[in-house]
């Protein structure tokens, strides 16, 4: 509710934005338009109206896209989702092995190198890293396109289109992976260390099992429990998009759309978007709770 008041208090009135600079627009017309968009009511009044519609399952119509908010979100979220999904898989493939290596060789040179790399990724500001990539790979070397999702003026179809999109996705995915891989790696390392210090690992070693077997059969499986729950919990978040990265690479995903909506004062879309984010967070928590019980046989839902 406070969110609605905030958004309504925003400066960029969509009607004013639309009409400004157009001669022949009378005050009467503006009034009429404001009425059409529901901007004439006071803030509490508008909120009650909006909430009433939401209960009926109607999130309203986006001002900019002239389509139901739900449809706009549905249209845009897949670009964001595939981007983050591919990035997540790459992150897992890199982070888990490296995390295990740095845990088993704690305080070795390899561990320090991996840790430094992980922190480098965590600490990089996404916009700066994206700009560096654009500068070197897109501008100087011309290997990857600067931004956008498809090459302009080329009407690819089918597989070629997929390839083209993939080619455009490369740089954003690198940004996602480098930025996200660090925390996942640290998480793996911490959990692995904890498992390696537990009694059953000592037992396994005392039994005379090979180090390889101890780590990959006994320790690794137990490390997976928290990782699976965390990754499962983050799945819904993949739909939410990344405002900054999408903005820089002009990826037509949810984050980019939200930034545009913010500029134009697209109230129904912003409200829908924020609701969507809140729901995603809730679903994420739910999934990780359920997964925890599924993966770990010691936890039983009674």
């Amino acid at each position: 509710m406070a969110l609605y008041a905030l958004i309504r208090a925003m400066p960029s009135n969509y009607v004013k934005q639309m009409t400004s600079g157009k001669p022949g627009v009378t005050d009467q017309l503006i009034e009429q338009l404001e009425k059409n968009y529901g901007l004439d009511s006071s803030i509490p009044e508008g909120y009650v109206k909006w909430a009433g519609n939401v209960i009926k399952g109607d999130f309203g119509t986006s001002f900019v896209y002239k389509q139901p908010v739900f449809k706009v979100i549905n249209d845009k979220m897949w670009a964001s989702f595939w981007l983050s999904f591919i990035a997540l898989i790459l992150e897992l493939l890199i982070a888990i092995p490296l995390g295990i290596i740095s845990a088993t060789k704690q305080y070795s040179k390899t561990d320090y190198a991996i840790t430094t790399f992980a922190f480098l990724g965590i600490s990089l500001p996404s916009f700066f890293f994206a700009a560096l990539l654009q500068k070197f790979f897109a501008m100087d070397l011309r290997i990857f396109p600067l931004q956008g999702m498809v090459t302009a003026r080329e009407d690819y179809e089918g597989f070629r289109l997929l390839l083209d999109i993939g080619w455009h996705y490369c740089l954003p995915i690198i940004v996602f992976v480098v930025l996200g891989v660090g925390s996942l790696m640290r998480y793996t390392r911490t959990n692995m260390l904890e498992v390696l210090n537990s009694d059953f690992i000592r037992t396994a070693r005392a039994k005379g099992l090979s180090e390889h077997k101890v780590i990959y059969k006994h320790a690794f499986r137990n490390t997976l429990i928290p990782i699976v729950t965390m990754v499962g919990g983050s799945l819904p978040g993949l739909f939410s998009g990344a405002i900054i990265t999408e903005g820089i690479f002009a990826i037509d995903g949810l984050g980019y759309t939200a930034l545009q909506a913010l500029k134009f004062g697209d109230i129904p879309f912003l409200m829908g978007f924020n609701m969507f984010l809140a729901v995603l967070t809730l679903i994420g928590t739910l999934i990780s709770d359920v997964l925890y019980a599924v993966v770990d046989p010691r936890v039983r839902l009674s």
Binding site: F127, A131, L132, N197, F273
Partner: protein
């Protein structure tokens, strides 16, 4: 014999143990060194730099070459006089000048001051709110706890970046004075950020208050504030220090992202984030690395140093850690 024993078996205080563990962590030491270095760089640099934050330089075209006007008495109004913009690094401007003819290095120093100030202030406010509310929730329990923790849940659900963007655009529209915007920024960021600290403090206090030493303080008849602040909070200190250190890094990142999007520290004030923002101009991205790479590297270095330090401190404080 007994004298010898006394000298060889020296009791180590927990503090010394922590220090010892900390000093053995090379990355943490490196982080500490970088932080000290950056603080020195900013403070000494600001004292030494001869230029002002918004001082604009002019140049004169002599024989088809832009030559900077160095004489302060020379008039800067003339036909072939223009702003000394986008200059390459040279002896007078070690990092060149930006697109409005201001010294990049000087702005870098001022930006550092602003970014660090925001980060520290933000963490202090977050700590104050988080410790107080978390402490109250954990100590009293019951409906007070329920109320505070619901508030924490609600704030946790709010998507922070969109909300901050919305708030700043409201401030811009309502002609909020630029000078105070930095403080508003600190306020907003800490209002959204204290929940993590409150959670930790509450959790710790919930488990601590059942222990014997707390029963003892009650038996002795100490007052409630004294029990909270003298006996409970010091026990949460290690976690708080770690959270605060890691928090400084993340606040710098958030602030720079906001400034980068144009919603944070307002122009003409410099901040590392809004200096990197110049990269949005493709020509600058391509040709003027000196304008956007240094602030980016500064953000990276600072955030990384705080992360190293926080991580090292966490390891050092953890009594379970074996070396």
């Amino acid at each position: 014999m007994s004298v010898q024993n006394q000298t060889t078996v020296k009791p180590i205080t927990p503090g010394q143990l922590i220090l010892k563990r900390f000093l053995r962590n090379k990355l943490a030491i490196a982080g500490f060194a970088i932080i000290v270095g950056i603080l020195l760089f900013v403070t000494v640099g600001l004292a030494v730099t001869p230029y002002g934050e918004y001082e604009i330089f002019y140049s004169e075209e002599i024989n088809d070459k832009d030559v900077e006007i160095t004489d302060p008495n020379q008039s800067v109004t003339g036909d072939n006089v223009e702003i000394y913009k986008k200059a390459k690094p040279n002896s007078r401007h070690l990092l060149g000048t930006d697109k409005d003819g201001r010294d990049v290095l000087t702005r870098l120093l001022h930006g550092g001051k602003v970014s660090l100030f925001i980060a520290f202030a933000c963490i202090l406010v977050e700590l104050a709110i988080g410790v107080t509310l978390g402490g109250i929730a954990g100590y009293y329990g019951g409906w007070v706890d329920g109320l505070i923790m619901r508030l924490v849940d609600v704030i946790n659900c709010i998507p922070s970046l969109p909300v901050m963007l919305i708030m700043s655009s409201i401030m811009i529209a309502n002609q909020f004075p630029q000078k105070y915007k930095i403080y508003a920024l600190i306020g907003i960021m800490s209002l959204l950020g204290w929940v993590g600290i409150a959670r930790i403090v509450r959790g710790q206090i919930l488990s601590l208050r059942e222990q014997e030493f707390m029963v003892a303080t009650e038996a002795v008849g100490l007052s409630t504030p004294r029990r909270i602040f003298k006996h409970l909070i010091p026990n949460v200190m290690p976690q708080l220090i770690v959270m605060a250190t890691l928090g400084v890094g993340s606040v710098i990142l958030t602030e720079s992202a906001l400034s980068y999007l144009g919603f944070g520290v307002p122009f003409p004030y410099a901040s590392w984030g809004n200096m990197v923002n110049t990269v949005n101009d493709p020509i600058i991205m391509k040709n003027n690395l000196n304008m956007w790479v240094p602030p980016g590297v500064m953000i990276l270095l600072t955030v990384m140093a705080f992360n190293f330090l926080g991580d090292g401190l966490r390891d050092a404080f953890d009594p379970k850690m074996k070396r």
